[in-house]
Symmetry: C3
Subunit: 262 residues, 3 copies
């Protein structure tokens, strides 16, 4: 009996100590949120917002071109890869430009990033559409992040056809396959990168480490391009060894959503 109480309480405590994911997934009705700029929430303590007529001084401070009267905003505590993937999907399917993509050192005590992403648009309806698409994509772009109870993780992303957001911020050739291979702690990422590069004929377009191209996260990562089959093969090879390495650091990691790279 005591054992049962213990288990019940642990479950309760865990729920109470990390309430935000659960909460964030209940997208409140707009009327409940009660402000016109609200679009919705998504995984990773993400909020989606839209501003119809951006204040012109703020626009200048943000370095956003004068042609974009409206902006869409994606703000997240957790994640950078999932957000750039989601923003790339949004840019593909809307009349917007991703005008800002900044990475905070966050993840709420974890080893990775949080995101500030801003879409520029001429019409507020376009900005809103971009935010809606990005929020929806965040329901699957955490699928190949595998984290264990100790918070150590490996992350993979893959697209057969990169668009303007990935091109602008992460050197993806337009319309070509692009993959991301990340390990935390960073040492795991070095091994994943080496394994991936040996598994298929791909090219590195960018790499990042605690002191390079990150906001001092504990991650090593490579971004690759090549034939779509080769990129996928490399990503999957990196994932395989990454899962083993993370397992030694606090137990087997689990997907945060549903894996999408097959």
């Amino acid at each position: 009996m005591q054992e049962e109480i213990v288990q019940q309480v642990i479950n309760e405590v865990r729920k109470k100590l990390s309430p935000s994911e659960t909460e964030a997934q209940k997208t409140p009705e707009k009327s409940m949120a009660g402000f016109t700029e609200y679009v919705g929430n998504a995984f990773g303590d993400t909020i989606g917002l839209v501003i119809a007529n951006l204040d012109p001084v703020l626009q200048e401070k943000l370095g956003i071109g004068g042609q974009y009267r409206s902006i869409g905003i994606i703000g997240s505590r957790t994640g950078a890869g999932p957000q750039i993937m989601a923003c790339d999907e949004a840019v593909k399917a809307s009349n917007t430009e991703l005008v800002k993509f900044e990475l905070a050192r966050d993840t709420k005590g974890g080893g990775g990033h949080g995101t500030l992403a801003i879409f520029g648009a001429e019409e507020v309806s376009d900005a809103r559409r971009a935010v809606e698409i990005a929020l929806k994509a965040l329901s699957w772009t955490f699928g190949d992040i595998y984290m264990n109870e100790a918070g150590n993780f490996c992350e993979l992303q893959y697209t057969a056809r990169a668009s303007y957001a990935l091109n602008k911020y992460y050197n993806a050739p337009l319309g070509k396959a692009w993959g991301l291979i990340v390990g935390c702690p960073a040492g795991v990422g070095v091994l994943m990168a080496d394994t991936a590069l040996k598994a298929a004929n791909v090219e590195i377009v960018m790499h990042a480490s605690p002191a390079l191209n990150t906001s001092y996260t504990n991650e090593f990562m490579i971004m690759i391009t090549g034939d779509s089959g080769a990129v996928k093969q490399a990503v999957i090879a990196g994932r395989e060894v990454g899962l083993k390495a993370v397992t030694t650091l606090g137990g087997p990691p689990k997907s945060l959503q549903t894996p999408y790279i097959r």
Copy 2:
């Protein structure tokens, strides 16, 4: 009965897992702390210290002018806005200069900063007085930080008359009104800033984002000046929309102390 035990245990666990605020608020007697440099503690895992005769090599390494034989120290795990406000109060009312104000990426797993602040003084009594005033001010400068269980927050600060600390580090015009408007995650701060700027005739003196003027925190903020009524009006408008936005990210936020901006 089981329910009661569960609740009791959760309360116990919460207390045990975050013991520091409670502890920090019990200011130990100097005799208990047992070292002459100790002045006191305050909210935010803050310690106040004083060094009567700073080692001259350390003084040079810290870049502190030779005229300041004595220093006062404010070290905090959580907060930057509350500390600069508190230091500004201290500089107003003591014969000291704020010679260092550095921001760590901290808040103990949260999305914001921690602080290292150093006052320079010719006399140790002045350094001590500055630290005492700052510690006291920290009992109210967290009043307009509103955080929810998920750790998402918005922060406001306001003074009708900025002094030398705010002037030196955050471009506040001396003797004029100054306000700070912050949201975390950063996307919330962009919306708060836009709303504030539209609410009153104020001027931005500085802004900050994950990649600019912060230590990679997940915050967007503006600092404003203008007529005191306008600054206050802008700050209050930013707060209103900030509270709504944070509410969508894990429930309604609560003031960490008692709100002071009315």
Copy 3:
């Protein structure tokens, strides 16, 4: 009885919420980890890996000289001082060079660093030996980190004879005594530094603060050299006042392993 259940549950919860140290200390058998690059784990969510033939493109991206076909990797979520000490021991006793030592802003929500360290070697057996020595040293190099329940800490490191790793990254004169004195929050470190410098005739070879020579951690630190007796005396004096200061911020800190500086 209720009290007993409460205590039991708290113990369980604490265990479940920070499972990684415990897990990490159980070094899995290589056959269990199931991949040839795995060497072992150590304190601080540390993994030790070895790559026999580093991919040449990755080698170039990492800036590792072509003479080093093999690399050894130390990746950690928690710690920088313990890892540089451990790597220095490894370099002393193996035919390797520490070719990379990068610091993440990590410690899993705490106020310090995590580490990515890479050894270069001509032979894989040398790389493996370096990693093994470093992992073993990590069983004692956390000994003079004293942390309390609130996560505030002071750290000391001391060696009578610094080798190439400490020389390359932290200005230690080769073969001479070197000491490290750190406090978190950073204000505590300023006091520890002042006390240490007044206690013995030592020289500062480097210092670091949230905005200088750290990855925005909440730490102030000095690294010192001099006669071995003087360095040890300074380190011990810094420790004494550091322990008192940290105690005011959430209770008495405890060594994370067994203190080794006597």
